[in-house]
Point group: C2
Chain length 144, copies 2
Amino acid sequence: MNNFAIRFPLERSSIIEMLQYYNVSPTRQRIEIAEFLFKEPQHLSADKILDGVKAEGKRVSRATVYNTMGLFVEKGMVREVLIDRERVFYDTNTDNHQHVYNVDSGELKDIYDIDINLADNMAIPDSCQVLGADIVIKVCSSPA
Amino acid sequence: MNNFAIRFPLERSSIIEMLQYYNVSPTRQRIEIAEFLFKEPQHLSADKILDGVKAEGKRVSRATVYNTMGLFVEKGMVREVLIDRERVFYDTNTDNHQHVYNVDSGELKDIYDIDINLADNMAIPDSCQVLGADIVIKVCSSPA
DNA sequence: TTGGGTGCAAACTATTTGCATTCGA
DNA sequence: TCGAATGCAAATAGTTTGCACCCAA
């Protein structure tokens, strides 16, 4: 899947390599946005990205954040995670993993080693290619 | 989970029973919306519901569709399925099942007998209760 | 110089809200 | 009757678009 190995935090030189790897021309704003994103594995909304980049004293517009994130998703640099209607996150971790969402705290955690077993494999005909599976396990804070 | 047994299509008398079962007072609009929804197992957007109910010659406002669907979701009568940012569906099938989404055709299919195996069960502490798991397998039409 | 990238503001889409009106137990 | 539900229109949130400007190859 993702074959550009990331070791967080990514510094500027690696960011530029990464952009080149994904065929994204490394403009100032794209580099600055990517620098902010790839400091650590994280789940961010477009708004948080805009705020974060600006908080670092960088100048970038809302439109550019949306354009850039759209581009990064398309190129496979980040993954889009849908939790509910008004909670769309960009996930800087593109490894094969899934998510646990705590509806009480709003916290989103990664989960690995999840294994799906399809008894009903009629559902996916041979004429189709599986692009991926998105799994969100919703939990609440009160014990079972 | 869902313990009101549905046999599609539901006629008016069963609709009213169902609403009562879920503690939803059966107003004219709610009955009409539910009648439209529970004709068959289906995945509908708010807009399609509004159009559909109106197409049957019933008078209902957009706000009421949103209010009603919000209520139906809260009460567990229907399930919300998120596919992408602008594709939110209401699913009249509340049985335990998951979805296959064809990105080329836009088609959404139910899938049963899916089995998740969590090797990494650290991810869900005992202090949490699992509310459910949403799985969307994305496929495209071109063969693998 | 020239085309891609950016910024701003306006447009747009889906959804929510405020409030007056109407419905229904 | 009287609170709950509804309808309309305006408001809002998140995102996209049109277009002029800018910058780097």
